[in-house]
């Protein structure tokens, strides 16, 4: 499998940084038919993006989960059945075989951009 380099990515502007809650709470954005969960972590001033679909319930709810840390990893807990997903990688902590799409992000001139593979 080929890994996508920055160049292959299609950077999509989804919202302004100040649209995101500044207290370690998630928010969802819609890009075409894709629902994306965004998490701004204030301590490290960084934005993370995951697909919003909770694979265990089939509902688009991950943006509404509680953010926290397990060891050194930042995670979000699904609000439905409480599985944890790594904010950087989308890996599920409870089930090795499950992971969700995690998207690269960058903030340019106050806008949040998400890298989707084209």
């Amino acid at each position: 499998m080929q890994t996508a380099t920055e160049l292959d990515l299609n950077w999509v502007d989804v919202c302004a940084l100040h649209d995101l809650p500044d207290n370690n709470m998630g928010a969802a954005v819609l890009h075409e038919e894709t629902q994306i969960a965004l998490f701004y972590i204030k301590q490290i001033d960084q934005v993370f993006a995951l697909n919003n679909l909770d694979p265990f319930s089939g509902a688009n709810v991950l943006s509404r989960g509680i953010i926290g840390s397990v060891g050194d990893e930042l995670v979000v807990a699904s609000p439905i059945y409480k599985e944890h997903f790594n904010l950087k990688t989308g890996q599920c902590l409870e089930d090795e075989g499950v992971s969700i799409a995690a998207y690269p992000t960058k903030v340019t001139e106050g806008r949040v951009l998400i890298g989707l593979s084209s």
Partner: protein
Amino acid sequence: MSKKTLVVIGNGMVGHKFLQSMVNSDVMQDYQIVTFCEETRLAYDRVQLTSFFSGKSEDDLSLVEDNFFEDNNITVHTGDRAKHIDRKSKVVTSEKGVSISYDKLVLATGSFPFVPPIPGHERDNCFVYRTIDDLIEISEAGETSKVGVVIGGGLLGLEAAKALKDLGLKTHVVEFAPRLMAVQIDDGAGAVLRKKIEELDVSVHTQKNTQNIVDGEECVHRMNFADGSHIETDVILFSAGIRPRDDIAAECGLALGERGGIVVNDSCLTSDDDIYAIGECALWDGKIFGLVAPGYQMAQVVADHLAQKDNAFTGADMSTKLKLMGVDVASIGDAHGVTDKAKVYTYVNGADDVYKKIVVSEDNTRLLGAVLIGDTVDYGNLLQLKLNDIPLPEYPDSLILPQRDGSGATGLGVEALPDAAQICSCYDVSKGDICQAVSDGSTTMGALKECTKAATGCGGCAALVGQVLNKELEKMGMDVNTDLCEHFAFTRQELYHMVRVEGIKTFDEMLDKHGKGYGCDICKPTVGSILASCWNEYVLDQPHAALQDTNDRYLANMQKNGTYSIVPRITGGEITPDKLIVLGQVGKKYNLYTKITGGQRVDLFGARQEQLPVIWKELIDAGFETGHAYGKSLRTVKSCVGDTWCRYGLADSVSAAIDIENRYKGLRSPHKIKLAVSGCTRECAEAQSKDVGVIATENGWNLYVCGNGGMKPRHADLFATGLDFETMIKYIDRFLMFYVKTADRLQRTSTWMMNLEGGLDYLREVVIEDSLGLAETFEQEMQTVVDAYECEWKRTVESEERTKQFSTFINTDKPDSQIVFVPERDQLRPARQDELTSTSAD
């Protein structure tokens, strides 16, 4: 091989225990069992008999598991007394004419209350106190009576006096001896006990010899005493001791004791090798044991003897510890110091009405007996010293002197006890059993109780069980990890104190000062809940919003497809037709699935996130407020219709429920709390299955606590009786605040109480007797919460900024197009996965 027949006469506490022991034994397969049960009820818990008055039902008291007789193929003849035993042909005949040939026979006929042959003793409204039927008669008589007398001031007499008092009668106790509880305690202790009981408004008359009972002038009876004095009374209870029921044994010629009782040997065999006797009818070594634990031992001995296993009855300790009318009383071994050359040490504290006495051997090295009144915390230690014959400290009086220098009690550590030491006599649990259970993983008081049953009977051993537990944990080097999570090395209770003491107002502040990492889905909601309990600030204010579980964060419960439910408060379950119409209209307008909940209100399901504020606005404009169905907080206060409509109602249960619900709504707590109010003991509101339940009686409100339904149902315990509304609210304030402050995360009131050392009694001490001196603080703190209440939804819909937080996406107003409903029974429901894939394929 055909089975042998085993006949058991008597299905009382011990008779039934014997059946259970048989069922658990291999020898059961050799026998066909038939039992005669004279009473119309199968075995029930006579020890707890008095609780029948405080609301326990026949079912609660029953000792017979569902289908016990059917499942184990035991024939029971209920309401039939065995009348005659033919030992030659080995046949038992009953009053109703049943004849059964036996191979082995067990007599478990118990005892009967002795009624002294005073002229007039057979008059109406003269009762004894032994069976449920007796209690039903007494309570019926109580309804038309004002005064009651108990003849006999022993243990049972005082218990009966308490029952009369609770029935609302002016109560007297008449005792022939110069003091109360003459068998168990001495003069000094009797005086302290008498004073305490008189303080409870029960008159005590000692050294009274009743000559006769005749017609009274103001009451039904007049009792004339030998000294010329008299009392008038409507009800008389005889409690002058018990006598073994040995008539059937006497008639067939079994050996009896001089003063009655069926003589048995160490295997509980009578003078006939095929007949055993157990329980209160049996006389062993010249002694009748009027307690249930020795009877249970005998039951096991007989089951073992039939199975040819080694076991013998070797006597039993008759030490007792109990709370009589709220007074702690205990007696151990040789309480009267009758042992030759015994030495006696006494400690009397007139100010606090405490009396303690120990009897020790001549050489000061062994404990022989003790009496404790007013303060029985030393009971467990003293009993163990006596039972295990442990050497005493150099100055034995140090055992009962108060430890004022904070050095902690002397006496023995639990470590000094041998493994065989019996810690819980109700369930025969030894120290070894407890240690084993701890090392097998029962590392909390609650788990230990569940696994060993220790401390779940009379509760007298709870403190000692706790000590053994702690010592074991210490030994295992197992500092039990009570950390909330990896981010906080504290318990919920410790965090609560920090919030209070340091005035912490936000999660970040807490994390900075006492935690590490970023927090998680355990500590964030916990701290959020504590902050809300303490300061009751709007939960969606910036610093708090991120702490809430989704349910709290959107002030609604998330459903399986990401939509939410809406539950407006319907206090006490009372709702006007107009409001009901509003609910219908709103449900219809937004196409919400509508259902009546188990909590006497209405739930509207299927609202999308962005719809929540709009729908709530409509509801609030129509006069509704949030029902906190999403919070760990007060849910519902269910009510029955009460005396406003119901012909049996004794109080206005609906108004009471509404007042109570309005008082505690919004209170954030470790777990959800549910309450209910019933208008009479028919209990249509199911108050006894609630964290706090209230039932109206003729004498005021009865308060129950620590019940719940759910995964592990538990009946609530009767906490206080005959309260006026105001006092009851005070108790509930204190109870709930104590719970909110000290319970663990997600611990409901029942588990919390089970884990408190001292359990329900301790809770009573804190809440009713104010033993911690915190009652006023609790009430004030509760008042602060009550005053700070506001409807979160009202506050939310008032502000545009807040309602904006509910939009599904921050970059568009579109809804989540992947939420799909399908019709069912004229309403909507979420599409299932398989239905989803077929609909989204197009």
